[in-house]
């Protein structure tokens, strides 16, 4: 079985992934998400993430808006004029044979923990590091709040907290619950997820289960089921990957995310050429005039 493993689920088992140095990940499957936001709440509580404001967005049931310095899990609510219901459990019409032109999708977004992580590469202090299990972790006691990571993230995840908030001035994002992982616990969001829409476990196992899940959904008529894991771009894969129904753009996800490090070569070539040209111009001007 690919979903609904109950007490057999890897989500509920204790593990030693950190000690084993085993690469882990999150697989988030919106087709079984019920939009309960338990992941958002569990993340906030466990990590003591401060208030991120209360405002009614008018965007379906989504009032947290986007991932940020104080929103590390974020459940998105998509309303689409498409058939397929909200859940694979069944269509949303009262008449089971009737036409069902409305699709309501929920997906819990999170830091992707990129293989080639723009934030980690951009960080000048060495505050952002890679953990034993492949997560990208911000050491808050080193971060000086320079903001380089904020524009280095291709997914718009990491952000700097306002100065008056607890931890103010520093950059924050999902820690992959590194503290929980270190003692054999599942990250708070996956632990709290009642439908196992968020699955935590060894990345290779998750990839296998995700491939099976996509095949099942396609066989059931969900032709637009696909995986979103950024493996074929310069990001070189995400430790948090997603099953999507339809286009990534509709989820506010970049369709072709690139690690900004790919721009370093051309940009530095231009910088050094310009520096050399400036020296040349100055030399020529002082020689000729």
């Amino acid at each position: 079985m690919s979903i609904g493993q109950g007490t057999e689920s890897a989500n509920q088992a204790r593990h030693e992934y950190v000690d084993e140095g085993r690469t882990v990940g999150f697989f988030t499957d919106p087709t079984v998400c019920i939009g309960c936001k338990a992941c958002e709440v569990a993340c906030k509580e466990w990590n003591m993430v401060p208030d991120d404001g209360h405002a009614w967005s008018g965007h379906s049931y989504d009032n947290s808006g986007e991932l940020g310095a104080s929103t590390w899990r974020h459940v998105k609510f998509l309303e689409q004029d498409l058939p397929g219901g909200s859940q694979v459990a069944g269509p949303m019409t009262i008449d089971p044979e009737g036409e069902d032109p409305f699709r309501w999708l929920f997906v819990s977004d999170v830091c992707k923990h990129c293989e080639e992580a723009g934030c980690l590469e951009a960080c000048p202090t060495g505050s952002i590091v890679r953990t034993e299990t492949g997560g990208v972790f911000v050491q808050d006691d080193v971060c000086n709040g320079c903001g380089a990571c904020v524009v280095g993230c291709p997914f718009g995840v990491i952000d700097r907290r306002a100065k008056l908030v607890p931890g103010g001035g520093g950059a924050f994002k999902c820690t992959f619950c590194y503290d929980r992982q270190a003692v054999g616990l599942t990250p708070a969001c996956a632990k709290a997820c009642p439908t196992e829409s968020i699955q935590f476990g060894p990345l290779d196992e998750l990839h296998e289960r995700a491939a099976i899940r996509v095949r099942e959904l396609r066989e059931d008529g969900y032709d637009d089921a696909r995986l979103y894991d950024a493996r074929d771009t310069s990001v070189r894969g995400a430790h948090a990957f997603f099953l999507l129904l339809g286009d990534p753009e509709a989820y506010g996800l970049p369709p072709g995310p690139e690690a900004p490090t790919i721009h370093l070569g051309p940009a530095w070539a231009s910088a050094l050429t310009t520096a050399a040209m400036a020296v040349l111009v100055a030399v020529v001007c002082f020689v000729l005039w």
Partner: protein, 350 residues
């Protein structure tokens, strides 16, 4: 949100007694006919809330990437640091090509004071200013911010030492003396200031060019050149305002103003559609065009007609305004999901 109930039937209005009545009516209709007319349960007055702006780009028009958190200190630093770095280049070139110190010493004043000011600006911009020394905790060549912090530190040190040595040397030369050892040391530190200054003047283009911000990374080749040219012209312009307006400095400034015209043309003509529309639209577009006109055509014409002080003022103003323009464009571009989508669609299609 009033738009919620207007945008689509079945908005937020279906609460309270009216909503219950409507649900009863729906149940009755379902019992009687076996189905409910309308779009699934999303019928008029039904319980499913509809998005206020369901037609927005992407996910309710939410940004895909985060806007830069940098405040006014950073564009001012781009301006001051670029000018200081290129002053180091001018100081070294003038000393090594003419053998004199009459331009080198004032240029080193700009370099040393500019480097110190740059440090203060950058510390002030940090979210946690008291931890500024963490910038020198490690060296990461793939982090432009790290390379820049080390370059600024090295440049500040080299230009300050060169300033002291150059001032002493100038005094000794005036009284007919001179120390060979002093001259050798001055050469070493001037060389360091010149080389590091060239990097300091251009790396800021890498800093914002190698990011996830569409309006910036689409111009990753242009930005380091643009910032370097602006820094070189600013250094020559400030020296002229301070009264060191010899022909070499006017020639350098003319070259910079001419090159800034080409930069402006490139931004206007080599467009990337929605990906870099923030360079032309809104407040950021206005700032960039104003800065480009001042540092490009306006300064060029004023130098050609021999009004060097006005030309210098125009160039400095243009260089400063365009740095603010680039930051504003980065913010606008980050907040525009279509900019990110357009850039990536163009990329994936080759």
């Amino acid at each position: 949100m009033s738009a919620a109930s207007e945008g689509r039937p079945g908005g937020a209005g279906g609460t309270g007694r009216a909503g219950e009545d409507r649900l009863d009516a729906l149940r009755e209709e379902a019992r009687r006919t076996g189905s409910v007319a309308g779009r699934g349960v999303d019928v008029e007055g039904g319980p499913i809330p509809a998005a206020a702006d369901g037609d927005a780009v992407g996910y309710y028009g939410q940004p895909v990437v985060k806007a830069p958190v940098w405040t006014w200190e950073v564009p001012v630093y781009f301006f001051v640091g670029g000018m200081a770095g290129m002053s180091g280049v001018i100081a070294a070139a003038s000393r090594f090509m003419t053998g004199g110190l009459d331009v080198a010493v004032p240029a080193l004043w700009i370099a040393a004071l500019g480097a110190a000011t740059s440090g203060l600006l950058l510390i002030s911009d940090l979210g946690r200013s008291s931890r500024f020394l963490n910038m020198l905790r490690v060296f990461k060549r793939r982090s432009p911010m790290s390379v820049g912090a080390w370059t600024l530190t090295g440049f500040g040190g080299a230009s300050t030492v060169a300033l002291v040595l150059g001032s002493v040397q100038a005094h000794l030369a005036a009284s007919g003396g001179g120390l060979p050892a002093l001259s050798v040391l001055l050469t070493i530190f001037l060389l360091a200031a010149g080389l590091l200054g060239g990097v300091l003047g251009t790396y800021t283009g890498v800093l914002i060019g190698a990011t996830a911000i569409p309006a910036w990374f689409e111009h990753r080749l242009l930005l380091p050149a643009h910032f370097g040219i602006a820094g070189l012209g600013s250094a020559a312009a400030l020296l002229q305002i301070l009264g060191f307006g010899g022909p070499p400095l006017v020639a350098i400034a003319l070259a910079a103003a001419g090159a800034e015209c080409l930069v402006g043309l490139t931004v206007e003509l080599h467009r990337h559609g929605a990906a870099d529309r923030a360079l032309r639209a809104g407040g950021s577009g206005a700032l960039l065009r104003l800065g480009g006109l001042l540092a490009g055509p306006a300064a060029l014409v004023l130098w050609i007609v021999h009004v060097p002080i006005a030309a210098s003022a125009a160039f400095l103003a243009g260089a400063l305004v365009s740095r603010f323009g680039w930051l504003a464009a980065g913010r606008a571009s980050a907040r525009d999901p279509e900019a990110t989508f357009a850039a990536q669609r163009a990329r994936t299609r080759g």
